[in-house]
Structures are given as structure tokens and as C-alpha cells.
């Protein structure tokens, strides 16, 4: 008999079933389902929804067995890696410099655009960020450890 390969199509219903079990157990045990005089308790709704989700997840898992798996090209994850680096760099040098470096490195180093295009796009996107979010909305973006060490 041929062994069926595990795909993410099968894992999603498994994940949703696990979430359902978690919500049912917490809902029933910790928050309560029904009170004889007060009626439905905080766990009432999540337990009902979790129970339906559990049944649907089993159905979803059965359906997934006949479906083809899907691929996840490594290249598609690059923006996610970039976002992680921006979040880490934010702790050190602040969010705006991290984003500025991200845009320049992405366009110049990864996409190999000439400096002219890189700087135009950089100016446009940073202009929007600084203009709309810093000046207009007044968002206090994090400045990072280095800034804090120098100025505080």
C-alpha cells in the first residue's frame, strides 16, 4: 500500500481541531457552560462553536486526504524574513531607520535596481511614512536602544 504524504492541507484541519479542543476544554472547565439560574456562562458560546469546529475539522481532514499538496517557494517567505529583521533592528536602531535600510537593501541589493530608482522609491515611501504617520498622525515610533543610550 502506498504511503500518503502529509501535506499542509491535512495539517490545517488538525490545527483547527486542536484549537477547537483547547477552546472547548477551557470554555467548559474554566469559564463554565450553563448556570441553572443565570443561564449561559462565558464558556457557553466558545464551547458550542468549538464543538462545531471539531466536527467540521474532521470533515475537512477527510476531504484533504484526496487533495493534492501545495508548495511554498522559499522566495515567497523573503518579505517575512525582512519583516523579522526590521522588528529586531527596531529594538536597536528604531523603527524608521530600520524601515529605511530595509527598503534600500531590498531594492538595491536584492532586486538590483539602479541607485536612481532605489532612491526615488525610497524617497516616496519614506515621505509617505514620515508625512502621514509621523507628522499627521503623530505616531511615536520606537527609537531603539542606541537612541535611548545617547539621549536619555
Amino acid at each position: 500500500m502506498q504511503k500518503k504524504k502529509i501535506t499542509s492541507k491535512m495539517l490545517i484541519p488538525v490545527f483547527s481541531a486542536s484549537a477547537a479542543v483547547l477552546f472547548i476544554s477551557f470554555g467548559y472547565v474554566k469559564y463554565g457552560f450553563w448556570h441553572p439560574t443565570r443561564g449561559p456562562l462565558p464558556g457557553f458560546f466558545p464551547v458550542i462553536i468549538g464543538s462545531i469546529l471539531l466536527v467540521m475539522s474532521v470533515l475537512g481532514f477527510i476531504t484533504s486526504l484526496s487533495e493534492e499538496g501545495t508548495d511554498y517557494p522559499l522566495e515567497n517567505w523573503y518579505p517575512a524574513f525582512g519583516a523579522v529583521l526590521v522588528m529586531l533592528a527596531t529594538l536597536v536602531i528604531g523603527m524608521l531607520p530600520s524601515l529605511a535600510i530595509f527598503v534600500v537593501l531590498w531594492l538595491k541589493w536584492y532586486e538590483k535596481y539602479p541607485w536612481k530608482t532605489t532612491l526615488i522609491v525610497f524617497a516616496v515611501i519614506m515621505g509617505i511614512v514620515v508625512g502621514a504617520f509621523v507628522f499627521w498622525l503623530g505616531v511615536p515610533f520606537p527609537k531603539g536602544i542606541i537612541y535611548d543610550l545617547i539621549f536619555n
Binding site: 499542509s8 467540521m56 518579505p79 505616531v139
Partner: protein, 504 residues
């Protein structure tokens, strides 16, 4: 007549310098975002949501409304000039739009037809909205918790069950959306729930970062696949406004399908789960039953007019249940509803009476947005090719930056960025596996309302299910719910039975 007077009062709310500028900004941004292939109205509205924080609720939602509405116009541009629909309602526009632009060598006229039809369809939708919105709200006043529970179940099920190719997947995500929304505080008692000891989870999953991640950041990851595709327009002539004008004969051909589809689209837009895409498909299908001067699919004006009018009418029509009952018809509608709730407005039957200046201001702003978008859409025809051919390679870092700053700005903490990041990864994995995230967003927004109404119903009935069958409206809605649930099941069964009968 009273509605008309209220609409005029709505115009007095809208016609301030700030609101007109906001409609203008929403229209320009909506056109650009809608026209860029691969972004779409849902991601567009989600990404631009943080920009509205500075405004008062009326101005903010006016901007989002005009943005959403202009998106419907924008989607057609790339469909006509590049054969790449800007978003799903524009899929049908490409069938005749692209051949008209390339084979018939009339790209400007194809764009003009699309703009004019969008305007006509939208106008019909808005006029109907003006008269049906308050009527629907009056009907909604008869709704108690049991009726609201049944209605919310119909809305959620119809979108979860009908959007996407697999109903099971739609329902799974609807339920996941409800459970995610139940984290934080209990809707009735206010006690902490499913916070798992985390101080951030105590406040629940924040709406804006969740939406930006699920539809915006996941879109960036999807776009990576197309980053090496060259986008070029196959046009032999330069686009000018003068060269894009329609002849009198063209207008005569355009009007009947645009008007017919305007009415059909509005009706479709009012139904939960149907939305602009279904409106566009149905408008085109209906046109097949009527005579067209040129065969549909070969660049017929009638084909463009039918679907463009229908999708804009549906977009306008969907505001009726959104405002009057608090039921969004699509994922974008859910984001708009979330925006309303963020500003402390509770859409529902009482909104028309408790916040009339807001409701009528919004409806009036749609009229204004329709006109302004038409003018801008015609004005930017000569520059459209440049906007449409912005390489995906440039869009990827730009959208990533907007996702990060947008999600940070909602809570002024990195928690928002983390929520955006993880929901983006989740949205991407779901998309790769054939799950549509629209039902999850809708469920996320509507879950608190559903829970409080369901619990109130059970409190008043002492736990008996009879409450859903004793009142005619609730009973009717429960019947509709069963019909929606059973439709795909019966279809599936028929599919299995027919080949078996044939082979026997």
C-alpha cells in the same frame, strides 16, 4: 420624500472642505489601489484604515466609503488595458474590455464605457439605497435577540458556505474567526476569557493589525511569485482624454445594459455573501439574454457596461444591510463595519435614528464619491498605463513598510506588528491551501454581536431552542439558514447521483 430631505441634510454634512477633500483623497487612492493588479479592494481598505484615525468618525468612514467605492472603478483599468483584473469583480470586465482595447483598437473608449457604466450603476444603487436603507432599518427594529441571532447566522453561513470552492473550508474559517474574536473579554460580563495569562491577549486580538496581516501582508507574500512577470500594455496608440470619448451611438449601446444591470446589481449587493463579484457575473450573464451589437467576448460595449454597472451597483447596495442591520455583504464590508465599531458606532436598526447625520452623510458622500471618481477616472486615463505598470518588485517592499507602520500605529506597540506578522503568515498558508480568508474576517467582526444576541435569546427562553421557531421572522431566517446549508450538500449529492445514473 422624507428620505430625500434627509439626503439633502446629509449633503450639508458632507459638503465641508475637509469632507470633500477626504472624498477626493479616498477616490484617488481607491482608483490607484484598485487599478494595481494584485492588491484589490479588501487589502486596499485594510492598508489605508490607519490613515483615518486622525478624523472624526463621520469623516473617517466617508473616506473609507469613497475608497471602497473608487476601488470598484479602479479594478477595471488593469482588466481592460492589461487583461489582468485589479480584483475579482473585474474578471468579467476583462472578457470584453481587453478585446475592445486591443483587437478593436479602442482602449480609451473601453475605459470610458467602464467609467460611465460604473457611474450609472452606482447612481442607481445609491438611489435605491436612499429609499431602502431606512425601510430596512425599520424592519430591523422588529428584530429581537432571536431574530438577530438567526440573521447573523444566515450572514455568516452564506459567506462561509458560498465563498470559495469548498464549503467545509469556508465554515472552518468562519468558526476559527469566531473563536479568535472570543479571546479577551466576555461580551456580556466583561470578565477575562482565553487570555492564557498574557496581558496583551486580555484586550483581545486587535482588529486593524489582524486585518492588515491577513489580507495585506499575506498579499505581499503571494505577490513574490509574480515579481518577475513583466507587465506591458499591448496598445498601439497613446491614451488621451479627447481620443477616449464615446460616440452617440456608443452611448445608446451602453445605456440599456448599464441601467438593467444597475437594478440587478443593487439587488445582489443587498444579499449577504453575494457582493460585487456575484453582481458582476450576474450582470454579464443577464446581458447574454439580450441582444448585443457585437458578440459578447469579442470587445462588445454591452459586455463591459453590464458587468461594470452591476458591480458598482452591488457595492452601493451592500451599504443598505451594512448600515441598517449591521450585516456586511463581503470581506471589504466587514472591514468597513470593523472601522465603524472602532469609532464607537454600532451599525444596526437604531443607527438611522440615533446617528442620522452620520448615516445620511455617508450616503450623500457615496453620491459625491461617485461623481468625483468619475471625473478623476476620466482625467487619469492618459497616465493609467504608468500607474498600472509599476513593477511588483517595487510594490513588495513598499507594501511591507505600510503593513508594519500601519499595524504599529494602531496600538503604538510592537504587539500590533506581531499580530500583523503572524496573521499574515497564517493568511498566506490558508491561501496556498485554497482557504478564502473573507469568511474569517466577517466572523471576527460579527462574533461579539452573535454571541451577545445568542446568549440573550437563551437567557429569555431559559435554554429552550423554541425561541427561534416561535417568532415568524426568526423562523423564516432559520429556514433560509437550512436552505443555505443544504444547497451545497444537495448539489454534491446530485453530482454523485447523475454520473451513476448515466453509467447504469
Amino acid at each position: 420624500m422624507e428620505n430625500f430631505t434627509m439626503l439633502l441634510e446629509g449633503f450639508t454634512v458632507v459638503l465641508t472642505v475637509q469632507n470633500v477633500l477626504v472624498v477626493l483623497l479616498g477616490a484617488v487612492l481607491g482608483l490607484i489601489v484598485g487599478a494595481m493588479p494584485g492588491i484589490g479592494s479588501l487589502a486596499g481598505v485594510a492598508l489605508l484604515l490607519p490613515l483615518t484615525y486622525k478624523f472624526n468618525p463621520t469623516t473617517a468612514i466617508i473616506m473609507l466609503g469613497s475608497l471602497y467605492y473608487a476601488n470598484m472603478y479602479g479594478g477595471a483599468f488593469s482588466a481592460i488595458l492589461l487583461n489582468i483584473p485589479g480584483d475579482s469583480p473585474a474578471v468579467m470586465t476583462a472578457l470584453d474590455g481587453y478585446p475592445m482595447a486591443t483587437k478593436r483598437n479602442r482602449p480609451g473608449q473601453a475605459l470610458f464605457t467602464s467609467n460611465m457604466s460604473s457611474f450609472i450603476g452606482g447612481l442607481i444603487g445609491m438611489i435605491i439605497l436612499t429609499f431602502t436603507g431606512p425601510a430596512l432599518a425599520n424592519l430591523g427594529l422588529k428584530f429581537g435577540p432571536a431574530e438577530m441571532t438567526a440573521l447573523l447566522l444566515v450572514a455568516m453561513t452564506s459567506i462561509g458556505w458560498l465563498v470559495g470552492e469548498n464549503p467545509t473550508k469556508g465554515v472552518i474559517l468562519t468558526l476559527v474567526g469566531i473563536l479568535v474574536a472570543s479571546m479577551g473579554m466576555d461580551t456580556l460580563t466583561g470578565s477575562p476569557r482565553f487570555d492564557f495569562g498574557n496581558i496583551y491577549l486580555l484586550g483581545g486580538i486587535p482588529f486593524t493589525p489582524f486585518v492588515i496581516g491577513t489580507v495585506g501582508f499575506s498579499q505581499v507574500l503571494k505577490l513574490m511569485q509574480d515579481r518577475n512577470k513583466k507587465v506591458e500594455a499591448n496598445l498601439s496608440q497613446k491614451l488621451t482624454i479627447k481620443g477616449s470619448m464615446l460616440t452617440l451611438h456608443d452611448i445608446k449601446r451602453l445605456l440599456p445594459p448599464a441601467i438593467r444591470s444597475g437594478f440587478l446589481g443593487t439587488f445582489v449587493g443587498v444579499l449577504p455573501g453575494a457582493g460585487a463579484t456575484t453582481g458582476s457575473f450576474m450582470g454579464y450573464a443577464m446581458q447574454k439574454a439580450f441582444k448585443s451589437e457585437e458578440e459578447l467576448g469579442t470587445g462588445a460595449i454591452e459586455g463591459i457596461a453590464a458587468c461594470e454597472s452591476a458591480n458598482n451597483a452591488a457595492a452601493a447596495g451592500s451599504f443598505a444591510p451594512l448600515l441598517a442591520l449591521g450585516i456586511p455583504g463581503s470581506g471589504t464590508g466587514a472591514v468597513l463595519l470593523g472601522g465603524l465599531m472602532m469609532w464607537g458606532l454600532n451599525p444596526g436598526p437604531l443607527l438611522f435614528s440615533s446617528q442620522p447625520e452620520f448615516c445620511w452623510g455617508l450616503i450623500a458622500s457615496l453620491f459625491l464619491a461617485n461623481l468625483i471618481t468619475l471625473i478623476i477616472a476620466v482625467g487619469i486615463i492618459p497616465f493609467m498605463i504608468r500607474i498600472l505598470t509599476v513593477p511588483v518588485k517595487i510594490l513588495v517592499p513598499c507594501i511591507t513598510v505600510v503593513c508594519i507602520v500601519g499595524s504599529y500605529s494602531t496600538s503604538n506597540s510592537m504587539y500590533g506588528v506581531l499580530v500583523m506578522f503572524f496573521s499574515g503568515l497564517f493568511g498566506y498558508v490558508l491561501d496556498r491551501n485554497g482557504y478564502s480568508t473573507a469568511p474569517m474576517l466577517l466572523a471576527f467582526v460579527l462574533a461579539p454581536l452573535l454571541e451577545s444576541n445568542m446568549r440573550k435569546s437563551f437567557i429569555s427562553s431559559h435554554g429552550s431552542l423554541d425561541i427561534f421557531f416561535q417568532k415568524p421572522i426568526a423562523a423564516f431566517l432559520i429556514l433560509v439558514l437550512f436552505a443555505i446549508i443544504l444547497t451545497p450538500v444537495i448539489k454534491f449529492a446530485l453530482k454523485k447521483i447523475r454520473p451513476a445514473q448515466k453509467s447504469s
